[in-house]
């Protein structure tokens, strides 16, 4: 049995089905030699450990090659959180790297959630050391003017129904990952989303009426538009149970506690529904992914072709990219400003004069945007290093990756 104790982490053991009648263990149906150690959740096929791992890796390879996701020579930034998906992803890609001719870098994001992220980062560091992969850690506090997720949660705490910290975290994390990837000079970003995540996403998008996200499709990840790096998800056709089984048989250590803010997320409803659907019909996850691939939405529902953010130059559908808009709202003391219909009217506000002199290190006080010359014309990133706490745009040269 593998030990996966990292800090206070628990290991997840795959549960044996209890409804099977007792009988001698079958042989692996692939190599016909070793005793079968597991039954694949999707097909019920009995396999030994190594054949299963081989099959899993073959399927990931097929996904990557069939979708032309990672061309040879790519420098790939792996979004590593220390959890099971990114651990398995990093391991599989490391195995396949010679065949695909890619180089890997691990990029970890520190959202500043106390008691959760620090332990996870320990796991990532030890993985990076063991696999001899370069690791870069980018922190929200550095990138986004002192806003950690805990500060965001405190700031959104009073605004009614749900805090929607997960919305902030998701948007900011993608920006952070992009910045980290740029730092290491990557050409592609991969994340460890599995089939369950895809299925939950399509359910969630329907329940929330997010036709724009549905129309964008994005089952195969997004090819880079404009200046954004192409992102893909090599594990997207592997179900969560198989990911856990793979980690078990390869004896991978990972961190598996739930984020402290997770119970408030809307995704929890979709996840709960997916668990029940899977119990009623085992192929439900793949059926949902199949459905998602084939949705046909009206052209009017599609979001407009994206331009660039006037403040930080990243990819944006409106005048401001979502990250800048959210941060703007936080800094102005209206955390929900960028969430909802008000967003459409949100233009890039002209910088308020004289605010930069009142910069404090407390992110909760309303801050003005950075007033340096370069950010005003909007085309280039602000290079001023001094006023970090007051700045809302991303300071590229100032990000100091802390190991």
């Amino acid at each position: 049995m593998p030990e996966s104790k990292v800090g206070t982490a628990q290991c997840e053991y795959p549960k044996q089905p209890t409804s099977l009648p007792p009988m001698p263990a079958p042989t692996c149906s692939s190599c016909h030699a070793a005793r079968a150690a597991l039954r694949r959740p999707r097909s019920g096929q009995a396999l030994c450990g190594s054949c299963f791992c081989t099959a899993f890796e073959a399927e990931v390879l097929h996904t990557v090659i069939a979708g032309c996701l990672l061309p040879p020579g790519a420098v790939v930034a792996v979004g590593a959180s220390g959890g099971k998906d990114s651990t398995v992803l990093a391991h599989v890609l490391r195995e396949l790297a010679p065949r695909l001719d890619i180089t890997l870098h691990l990029v970890a994001v520190d959202e500043g959630i106390g008691g959760y992220r620090d332990a996870a980062l320990e796991a990532v560091s030890s993985q990076a050391a063991r696999w001899e992969l370069p690791l870069t850690i980018v922190a929200y506090a550095d990138l986004f003017g002192g806003w950690t997720m805990d500060a965001v949660a405190r700031s959104t705490a009073g605004s009614g129904r749900s805090r929607s910290c997960c919305t902030f975290c998701g948007v900011l994390r993608r920006r952070a990952l992009e910045e980290g990837a740029r730092l290491v000079g990557a050409t592609h970003i991969v994340t460890g989303h599995n089939a369950d995540d895809m299925a939950e996403t399509v359910l969630m998008n329907f329940l929330r009426g997010d036709a724009g996200r549905l129309a964008r499709g994005g089952v195969l990840g997004s090819a880079g538009e404009g200046c954004a790096l192409p992102r893909c998800r090599p594990l997207q056709f592997a179900s969560q149970k198989e990911v856990v089984l793979y980690a078990h048989f390869r004896r991978l250590r990972y961190f598996s506690e739930e984020c402290v803010y997770a119970p408030e997320a809307f995704r929890g409803h979709a996840r709960d529904l997916l668990k029940r659907l899977e119990a009623a019909r085992p192929s439900a996850v793949l059926d949902l992914v199949h459905s998602a691939e084939r949705l046909a939405l009206a052209p009017a529902a599609r979001p407009p072709p994206p331009g660039t953010c006037t403040r930080c130059g990243a990819l944006a559908s409106h005048a401001l990219c979502q990250a800048c808009a959210l941060l703007d709202g936080l800094n102005r003391g209206l955390p929900r400003l960028a969430i909802g219909k008000g967003r459409r009217m949100l233009q890039a506000e002209p910088p308020l004069p004289g605010n930069s002199s009142q910069a404090t290190s407390d992110p909760a006080a309303p801050q003005g945007p950075c007033t340096c010359e370069q950010s005003r014309d909007g085309a280039t990133l602000c290079k001023e290093g001094g006023d970090r706490a007051g700045a809302t745009c991303v300071l590229q040269s100032d990000v100091s990756p802390s190991e």
Binding site: Q45, A280, R294
Partner: protein, 527 residues
């Protein structure tokens, strides 16, 4: 936050204000005079008359906005006895009896499908239910048909062929049709019998025997066959899906035989939201627009229409209660089933529970469903000649380069039939998601496996997953199996002669390839 794009200010307001209860000082929000009797949505209290006007307006607006039902057309109302379809029949009844300016202009008939055998009801219960049903149907005054589900065993295979479609009526066609109809009305108007299509006294008998020539109740053999079919299905999900499919085929057949070109089904907004999410989970994402849209033209000449799709179940229930709409309760196949018995039940419970937490869930899903279009996604096989599914008649959504299904098939392609090897272990059949390639799983049984494989090949992804739950396809009604065999024979034959056929597109390429072939043969022969 439950909804993308939800306004901050509005949501805060909605949350802090309590829902106003209709107290003595409250008046109807619409007419500001009457005493409110029902609260629709959150905080809108309506009086009885305004509610009726609101409800009826919704129904008429849905019909009028879509302009699919031409005046004088024969429309078959599919009545299940439940509240939504009863409400729909009631609306049509009232709509036909109004003064001529606002009168509905089509000719209705009603059909009731007796599904007692599939639901396991005893003969006495079915007879009792049928008596109640006939009473209500006679009171409507429309021509009515009562068919038993057992009649699917006598359906001809042609029901699965989508007959040639008439071109969809354009705006001008609709307007001219309405104008000419009105002129007809004026010509006959003086005599007092406004339209020859009133339901009251007709020249044809007001109740018709079963259209397939069976007198009265279905035979015991057919009932037996039907219950054998349904009890052989392993999961409730597949049972419900098959029941829906068979019921649709039967209704379409009856409509075709009696000359109805439209069928109205009474699915409400809530039901359609649940249906949409259920179909997502069943793998029918490509066909959501047909399954939940206003009109469904898969069957060609018979178009299914859903006029109640804007009414929530709550409104329907209140209307039926306030205005005494008659309905009949019949147990369905999933009555009293536990929540996790089928995907349909799960989704229903989930959506209704979520609705209590986020009251806009159903309307959000409904609005998203309106944005779905009936075109295939770019890059998928399309066109009028593309093969359609045997059971649900949608264009097949499985390509060989399919990611998810090819992925699933890849891992099971080297799977041998497990049942002989490991006897006693219940496993799902392995090649349920197999595609049209020759990668069918190796079966010990020869011919039966072939027949089964040839049926599976002609199904869309969702229907294939359902068929996985049928251990053997023999109990299926003969028209399905006959049509499957016909189609596979046709495909085989056309593959044989494909190279010799001249089509419009590749006429030149054909000739070129034939010329090269000829040369090759000549040189081969000449040697």
């Amino acid at each position: 936050m439950c909804q993308a794009g939800e306004d901050y200010a509005v949501s805060a307001q909605r949350e802090t204000l309590p829902v106003p209860r209709p107290g003595r000082e409250q008046k109807c929000v619409k007419c500001a005079e009457g005493l409110p009797v029902v609260v629709i949505r959150a905080g809108d209290a309506f009086c009885r008359d305004c509610f009726k006007a609101f409800y009826v307006h919704k129904f008429r607006a849905m019909l009028g906005k879509n302009r699919l039902i031409f005046p004088g057309e024969k429309v078959l109302l599919a009545w299940s006895g439940g509240p939504s379809s009863s409400s729909m029949v009631w609306q049509v009844l009232e709509g036909l009896s109004q003064d001529s300016a606002k009168r509905l202009r089509f000719v209705p008939g009603v059909i009731y499908v007796d599904e007692g055998a599939a639901c396991g009801q005893s003969l006495q219960d079915r007879v009792k239910t049928l008596a109640e049903v006939k009473l209500i149907l006679q009171n409507t005054g429309f021509p009515w048909h009562v068919v038993a589900l057992e009649e699917v065993f006598s359906l001809p295979p042609s029901v699965l062929c989508s007959a040639s479609q008439e071109p969809a009526g354009t705006e001008e066609a609709y307007k001219t049709a309405v104008d000419s109809f009105l002129q007809q009305q004026h010509a006959l108007g003086s005599e007092g019998c406004a339209s020859p299509a009133q339901g009251e006294d007709q020249s044809h008998p007001s109740h018709s025997q079963e259209p397939l020539g069976m007198a009265g109740f279905p035979t015991a053999a057919q009932t037996e066959a039907l219950s054998r079919l349904f009890s052989s299905i392993k999961t409730l999900t597949a049972k419900e899906e098959l029941l829906q499919t068979l019921r649709t085929h039967l209704i379409v057949h009856v409509a075709r035989t009696h000359g109805y070109c439209k069928v109205m089904t009474g699915e409400s907004c809530t039901r359609l939201a649940i249906k949409l999410m259920t179909n997502l989970a069943l793998g029918r994402g490509a066909f959501l627009a047909w399954d939940t849209g206003f009109s469904d033209e898969r069957h060609g000449d018979v178009v299914l229409v859903r006029p109640m799709r804007d009414h929530t179940l709550k409104e329907v229930a209140f209307y039926n209660h306030l205005f005494g709409v008659p309905s009949v309760f019949t147990p369905a196949i999933d009555t009293k089933a536990p929540e996790k018995a089928s995907i349909h039940r799960l989704m229903e419970a989930f959506i209704l529970r979520l609705q209590t937490l986020f009251p806009s869930t159903v309307s959000t899903v409904y609005r998203t469903s309106e944005k779905l279009v009936k075109a295939p996604r770019e890059g998928c096989a399309s066109g009028p000649s593309s093969p359609s599914c045997l059971l649900c008649m949608c264009a097949l959504d499985i390509d060989t380069t399919d990611s998810a299904t090819a992925f699933g098939a890849q891992s099971s392609s080297h799977l041998s039939q497990m049942l002989p090897a490991e006897a006693g272990i219940p496993t799902t059949p392995c090649c349920g998601s197999g595609e049209g390639q020759a990668q069918s799983c190796h079966r010990g049984v020869g011919r039966r496996g072939d027949a089964q494989a040839c049926v599976i090949e002609q199904l869309c992804y969702g229907c294939r997953v359902n068929m996985k739950d049928l251990p053997s396809l023999d109990p299926l009604p003969p028209y399905v199996l006959a049509e499957a065999q016909l189609r596979s024979q046709r495909a085989w034959v056309s593959k044989e002669i494909q190279e010799y056929l001249i089509t419009d597109d590749d006429e030149e390429e054909e000739e070129e390839s034939r010329a090269i072939k000829q040369e090759g043969e000549n040189t081969g022969i000449g040697l």
